[in-house]
């Protein structure tokens, strides 16, 4: 694949990822995926006045997993929580100028990570938002060839 199958954008984010790390005193941290499946992502964020003031990621995975989370943090940073909730995997893929079909699952995973972080943010505020929990959450933890 390399240069042929990944867009320039993906390569750029892979080689110069933005917002690497974990936000100090995070308001929410979402961890999804599993090293067993070859992909694991952690999204941490800090909210101020209903806006995502800071967001960082850590990813174990392939180039597109890294690029997707990097791009996601860039998109989300500064957005309101409502806006963030409405970002879809498709938005991320488009911002990256596309992903190879076998890698599209990375964008699903990244969105799941974001939503889990938001879920936790709400939970800390005693708001229960089960709709933010990924439906196929469990499957990410299976050590099976069905790792999505």
């Amino acid at each position: 694949m390399s240069r042929i199958e990944y867009s320039k954008k993906v390569m750029e984010h892979f080689t110069n990822p933005r917002n690497v790390g974990t936000v100090d005193d995070a308001d929410g941290i979402g961890t999804v995926g599993n090293p067993v499946c070859g992909d694991m992502m952690e999204i941490s964020l800090k909210v101020e006045d209903g806006r995502i003031e800071d967001i960082k990621f850590r990813t174990f995975g392939c180039a597109s997993a890294i690029a997707t989370t990097s791009m996601l943090t860039e998109i989300i940073k500064g957005k309101t929580i409502e806006e963030a909730e409405n970002i879809s995997w498709d938005d991320v893929v488009k911002s990256l100028d596309g992903l190879p079909p076998v890698k599209v699952h990375c964008s699903h995973l990244a969105i799941d990570g974001l939503r889990k972080a938001l879920y936790e943010y709400y939970r800390k505020r005693q708001i229960y938002r089960p709709d933010l929990i990924p439906k196929d959450e469990e499957s990410h933890h299976e050590s099976s060839p069905e790792c999505e």
Partner: protein
């Protein structure tokens, strides 16, 4: 490293240096082999079956090639037939012997040390009702002898297939012991010499091998050619029928330039192996030593009993594809798992069979050398890799968690 990568992306394939460490998926050819093939591509375009003058040179070329290949592995020339590559040779060995095996004894024993060619073919035969069984591997990648023997003792198998060494982790297989046990139980042995023939001497006759697969490209010869050693007396049915070439075991007008090139490559390997292998092994050892100096890095396979050109290491907390891509951006070509599995997201079956955890398999990198690889190449690799690993680890949620 950052500067280097930006450079690479902007300028395309311009690297400060290019180091090829993926010899398992393609070998450079001996320059003499290329030039030796040219007359058979230009003047001598005849067919060996022709009874006229234009058939003479091709016929001679083919028999010379057969002798060279036979000599490399200690066979008689009449025991060697040419195929289109290792895959065809493996298919012919497995399928062809299954057809001639007596009912009730059609069965294949193999392992995850085998290349996908063997495992996929065994699986296909299994779907067609042929008995199959897998020998387990130990944690270093060697077939477990006792377990293999007890599979044989169940009976109903005509063939045991094994590589001389795992192409992926490089571990030598207990060939001598398995051949002895198989012979006692009248089970034929197919030995896959792909990836070992250019670097480890073999004598199929002395070792009592029944069938052996050799790849031309693996001898630094042309692609699209291979050979199957068939011990005198072992009967196979062809998978490609037609004009009756190769004693009716492999029909099809012969690829004379390719076959001649394979023969030439075999003769060069035979002559020079004693020189380039110790050299290649020293370079490889420097690579392994250097990589293991990076913390939380481990060697897959056996430290001593391994193919001289093979280094397979795993880096904790990070994932293979991103390592490969970073290496590639720095001009270093390597592989994760087998060449074929790099298209999929599955962890390597060999590594899994050795008992590695998924994440360990995912973080493994295979580096395979050839006689052209230099110590300078390796020094460059060792300059680049620590930075790549560090960068990726900094991004990894696993690393931090452990580091905490």
């Amino acid at each position: 490293m950052g500067v280097l990568i930006i450079d690479t992306i902007e300028k395309g394939v311009v690297h400060l240096r290019s180091v090829y460490l993926d010899s398992n998926s393609g070998m450079p050819m001996w320059p003499e082999v290329i030039s030796s093939m040219l007359p058979y591509m230009s003047e001598h375009y005849g067919n060996t079956s022709s009874i006229h003058a234009m058939g003479n040179e091709p016929k001679k070329a083919m028999e010379m090639a057969r002798s060279h290949v036979a000599e490399l592995i200690g066979a008689d020339p009449t025991e060697v037939i040419f195929t289109s590559g290792a895959t065809e040779a493996v298919n012919l060995a497995l399928r062809g012997s299954t057809e001639t095996a007596s009912e009730g004894k059609k069965g294949i024993i193999y392992s995850q040390a085998d290349h996908r060619t063997v495992t996929a073919t065994a699986e296909d035969l299994s779907r067609k009702g042929v008995r199959t069984a897998m020998m387990p591997l130990d944690h270093l990648g060697a077939i477990k002898l006792k377990e293999a023997v007890s599979i044989m003792d169940q009976g109903g198998f005509h063939l045991l297939s094994m590589p001389f060494a795992s192409q992926e982790v490089g571990t030598f297989q207990p060939v001598e012991d398995l051949v002895k046990e198989a012979a006692e139980r009248e089970v034929l042995v197919h030995l896959d010499l792909t990836r070992s023939a250019f670097q480890v001497p073999i004598d199929v006759k002395k070792q009592g091998i029944d069938l052996a697969t050799i790849s031309s490209n693996d001898l630094l010869g042309p692609k699209g050619v291979g050979a199957l050693y068939i011990k005198k007396g072992v009967r196979l049915k062809p998978i490609l029928t037609g004009g009756g070439h190769e004693r009716a075991l492999r029909s099809g007008s012969e690829n004379i330039p390719g076959i001649y090139g394979m023969g030439k490559a075999a003769s060069i390997v035979k002559k020079r192996m004693g020189d380039y292998v110790p050299q290649m092994e020293r370079v490889r050892d420097a690579l392994i030593d250097g990589l293991l100096r990076i913390e939380n890095t481990h060697l897959n396979g056996n430290m001593k009993m391994r193919l001289p050109n093979n280094a397979n290491v795993r880096f904790d907390f990070i994932e293979g594809e991103s390592i490969l891509l970073m290496l590639d951006l720095n001009g270093i070509q390597a592989a994760s798992g087998s060449a074929c599995s790099s298209k999929t997201l599955e962890p390597s079956p060999t590594l899994m069979a050795m008992g590695l955890k998924h994440e360990e398999a995912h973080g493994s990198i295979q580096m395979t050398l050839n006689p052209n690889t230099t110590i300078d190449d390796i020094q460059y690799v060792l300059e680049v890799v620590p930075g790549i690993v560090e960068n990726l680890r900094e991004m990894s949620p696993l690393y931090n968690r452990i580091g905490d």
